[in-house]
């Protein structure tokens, strides 16, 4: 039986406890009452200021952004409750009676999550209501209902994201001090996220924030899943001190990355020979093995990319069916393409530049993917493939065949570059999925090290060499093939 009431029992006790602690209550009351007032003053000042220059649009976009800020600050303060949810009880010695009770792991976990979410959520919404009331009181034009709704949902999603991350930290830390130190790993990324969202709001179509809501919600769900999968009573009781054991971490990673060494004693005549035999052995056993492990993620990533490219192609094709570029724009564009194709080193771009550019893109996917269970990495990947679909559809505007542009202009180097991007993006997805899936008796740290080693086998063994080949092809071969196919259309002699 699910017995959600037991999770609620845990949450209720915690909530009552929080309401009796003035050290929690006082800052929250101050933030709830004073901060919206401060934002109201800021809003008034900003509206008056930008109106002097007739830039009412800026104020219009800024006001909903301030809602996000009003909602965000109380959450950061009350995050301390979630951060000490488990480790605080452990320090105070109150965790053991709970752990020795018939409560199931998820009762404890969800109970703590609810308790950690409800107070900051309530405080945030009260703060937002006060802020909105202040705008109304000052007769400042209220943001559109759609925007308000988006910011409210986004505040909820961000609160759940931050609290679930804090609970994960709380289950994995050995002291409240350590947990509080790690809080910056939650607050800073979310602050950056809010900056990104603010850019979205200023850029602003009315629906754009729903994408952020979706992304943040997925990450929250994954974090909750991660916490539940790795929540173990034993770990809470067993770990007493934090030890940064770099030797152990390197050992776990290196064993997984290299695998067992090949037996080279009979075959190798020299050190180089031994190295080559080991390398071949590593490719055959480790890289292929990692590829097999990652196969579901690779297939899924490929399908997502295909879907993104197809969707943007159809969207652009459908959006611009009858658009004709003005003759001079068309002429300029064709001249630019001619210059690109005829020039051996267009714009001074070399293979090394292309290689470095593509490598940087993959490293960026890796960096953001690693901190978001692959979600943000996958969004960048979708953007890449979506861009390809959009560009192909747009070539129609130039009177070119998208099929020919794809076959002659993308596929030659794409044969190497696209698999590389797919593999590196799939790698991030693989790490994210493994983190939120029960993995033998491994801790979060071990799981991360093992999956990172798997990913790096594929990245260093395949992605980087593929990018290298792709950059050589893109500079030396693709322009010639494209010229051969499009020369007539563009009135250029190949």
């Amino acid at each position: 039986m699910k017995r959600f009431d037991l999770a609620w029992l845990v949450a209720k006790r915690e909530l009552v406890d929080q309401m009796r602690d003035w050290r929690i209550l006082l800052p929250m009351i101050i933030l709830t009452l004073f901060f919206p007032y401060l934002m109201n003053v800021a809003a008034r000042f900003t509206v008056d200021y930008v109106n002097q220059f007739g830039a009412a649009l800026i104020a219009e976009r800024l006001l909903p952004f301030l809602i996000l800020i009003v909602g965000f600050f109380p959450v950061t303060v009350s995050l301390v409750v979630a951060l000490e949810a488990f480790v605080g009880e452990k320090e105070r010695g109150t965790i053991e009676p709970l752990l020795s009770s018939p409560l199931k792991d998820w009762h404890l976990y969800i109970g703590k999550l609810l308790a950690g979410t409800i107070v900051p959520m309530t405080v945030s919404y009260i703060g937002i209501a006060i802020y909105m009331a202040g705008l109304w009181w000052q007769q400042i034009k209220l943001p559109a209902l759609n925007f308000v709704l988006q910011t409210l949902v986004l505040t909820l999603a961000q609160t759940v994201l931050m609290v679930s991350a804090a609970i994960v930290i709380s289950t994995q830390s050995t002291s409240v001090r350590a947990a509080n130190l790690l809080a910056s790993f939650i607050v800073i990324p979310v602050a950056l996220l809010i900056q990104g969202e603010s850019a979205m709001m200023f850029w602003g179509t009315s629906e754009i924030l729903w994408v952020a809501v979706l992304g943040v919600s997925i990450m929250s769900a994954l974090l909750i899943r991660l916490g539940l999968v790795h929540f173990k009573r034993e770990n809470l009781l067993g770990r007493e001190i934090d030890m940064l054991n770099l030797g152990w971490a390197w050992g776990v990673f290196w064993r997984q990355f290299t695998g067992p060494a090949a037996d080279v004693s009979r075959d190798a005549q020299s050190r180089l020979g031994a190295f080559l035999i080991n390398l071949a052995h590593w490719y055959r056993r480790e890289v292929l093995g990692a590829l097999r492990q990652m196969m579901p993620a690779i297939v899924l990533t490929f399908l997502i990319g295909l879907g993104a490219a197809a969707a943007t192609y159809l969207y652009v094709d459908w959006s611009l069916p009858s658009t004709r570029l003005p003759a001079e724009v068309l002429r300029d564009a064709i001249t630019a393409i001619r210059a690109f194709l005829i020039d051996d080193s267009p714009g001074g771009v070399s293979s090394a530049t292309i290689f470095w550019h593509n490598l940087r893109a993959e490293l960026l996917i890796m960096a953001v993917g690693l901190f978001s269970f692959g979600v943000l990495g996958l969004l960048l990947y979708i953007g890449n493939f979506g861009f390809i679909g959009g560009v192909l559809a747009a070539t129609k505007l130039l009177g070119l065949s998208p099929a020919i542009v794809f076959l002659a202009g993308i596929l030659p180097h794409g044969l190497f570059e696209l698999p590389s991007v797919i593999l590196s993006s799939a790698g991030m997805l693989y790490i994210g999925v493994r983190l939120v899936t029960p993995f033998e008796d491994k801790s979060i740290g071990e799981t991360l090290l093992i999956t990172l080693a798997d990913f790096l086998k594929v990245f260093l063994g395949l992605c980087v060499p593929l990018l290298l080949v792709a950059s050589l092809v893109e500079i030396n071969l693709t322009p010639r093939i494209l010229l051969a196919f499009l020369g007539q259309t563009l009135q250029i002699q190949p």
């Binding site: 037991l6 029992l9 006790r13 009552v16 406890d17 009796r20 602690d21 010695g93 109150t94 965790i95 053991e96 009676p97 709970l98 752990l99 020795s100 009770s101 018939p102 409560l103 199931k104 009573r233 034993e234 009781l237 067993g238």
Partner: protein
Amino acid sequence: MIECEDLTKHFNHFKAVEGVSLLVRPGEVLALLGQNGAGKTTTVRMLTSMLSPTRGWATVAGYDVVRHPAEVRASVGVLTEMHGLYGRMTAHEYLDFFGQVYDLDPARRKRRATQLLEYFGLAEAAGRRSGEYSKGMRQKLALARALIHEPPVLLLDEPTSAMDPESAQLVRHEIARLRSSQRSIIICTHNLVEAEMLADKIAIIYHGRILVSGSLEDLRRTLLGPAEYEVCLSGGWQADGWQWPAGARLLEAGEQGFSYQVENPRVANPLILQQLHQRNAQVVALQEKPRSLEMIYLKAMTQAAAGAL
């Protein structure tokens, strides 16, 4: 009933508990003795399904600790090393909360909480937050929590620590009452007098290993040898012509009498008295030399440190 065989727990390379085997039947109290860090708490944590054994098995109240953790926890009342109270809750709220955790209906929760608070002398303070309680009061409230659901098995870590003598006696009475109502009880304690008073069985654990276990008498025999007796005489004792019965041997003789060790006192002591009577010795007293649990424990520790156990 509590039963475990070869129960072992390793934390990476650290062997916290190694091959512990215990049996505590209903109506029995086992005192688990040992130094700090000897493995008592880890053993208790395995018996409450909080830690999973590296090797071996254990059943508590008929449930396997690995396969049925929820049932094990529902059948056990645990008093932990730290009392584990929520300082901002009143005693009533605290017991009610754990009553709900153990799925007691509201009427039973109220009845049990009232009973326990009254028994432990906390009824008057029941409306006060436990953060304001003295150490002894906190300990009593924690014990009340462990008993709220009337579990068939009790695992009590230092049940009378920080208590005044009256409260400690109250707790000992309660443990004795629980034993007579067929509970299986394990007490982890450093209070050897209390262990001697309460326990039917004693197990001494050292570096994760059970050194010796059994009844107090078994342990006396194993570690200190056969029983020792002291005879006080009004005159001196003459060894000439004295016949020691089989299994008895002289330990010490003096002007006031002598002491001896005997394998089977039921047979040997009457024979010794008979000889004294035949010699017209004036016997003032014949008594067994007291050999406390403390002597047994210290002997065990000394032998273990020397590698003899």
